[in-house]
Symmetry: C2
C-alpha cells in the first residue's frame, strides 16, 4: 500500500467556488476513483488556494492510468481546469505534484 | 475520528538535515505520539521546505494538550526549533497550521 501526498494550486479568488464543487463531486466520479483503487482519500485546502491531497492505494501510477481513459474523468477534469493555476496545458490530474514521504507512524 | 492536515515550513537549506532527523525519531517520542492518540501519521516534504502532515485521531486538540506536558515532547520540540521558519517564538507543535478538509472519499 502506498501513501500518497500531492499538491495542487487553486486560484485564490476561486477557492470558495472550488470548495462548493467538492460538496457535490459526481457519484460516478467518486466511484471511478474507488474503482481505480483510491482509498482513504482526503483533500485539504489552505486559504491561499494550496490544495493538499492524501490517499492510500496499491499503485498510484496504475491508478492514474486507470483513470486516464475514463470518460467521466475527462469530463470532471475539464470542468476543474478553470480553477487551477500552473496547469501549463495539462489536466489537473496530470499536473498534481507528488511530494515525498519523510516519516510515518502507524 | 478526525482527519487532520497541517502545514509547517522548514528552512529550505536545512531540509535534508531535517529529513535525516526523521529517519531516527526517538522511540519514546513515537510512543508519546501514539499514547496521545495519533494514528496513521505521515509527514511529507516538498523541496522548498513545506511540510505537510496527515494524521487520524479521536480529538486533535486533546492530543496536543496531552503532548504539551511531556518532557520528551519538550526536548524533541526544542531540538526541532532551529529547522523551522515562522515560529515567532512558538514551539513547532504550537505553530503547526491546520488546514481545512474539503473532500473525503473512504
Amino acid at each position: 500500500m502506498q501513501r500518497v501526498g500531492f499538491i495542487l494550486k487553486v486560484k485564490k479568488e476561486l477557492l470558495e467556488e472550488y470548495k462548493g464543487t467538492h460538496k457535490n463531486v459526481w457519484p460516478e466520479m467518486q466511484q471511478a476513483l474507488r474503482d481505480a483503487g483510491w482509498t482513504n482519500y482526503t483533500l485539504f485546502a489552505r486559504e491561499d488556494g494550496t490544495l493538499f491531497g492524501y490517499l492510500e492505494t496499491e499503485d498510484f501510477e496504475k491508478s492514474l492510468e486507470a483513470m486516464d481513459g475514463l470518460d467521466v474523468n475527462t469530463r470532471w477534469q475539464a470542468s476543474m481546469v478553470p480553477y487551477f493555476e500552473q496547469l501549463e496545458g495539462r489536466r489537473p490530474d496530470e499536473a498534481l505534484y507528488q511530494i515525498e514521504e519523510i516519516f510515518h507512524l502507524d
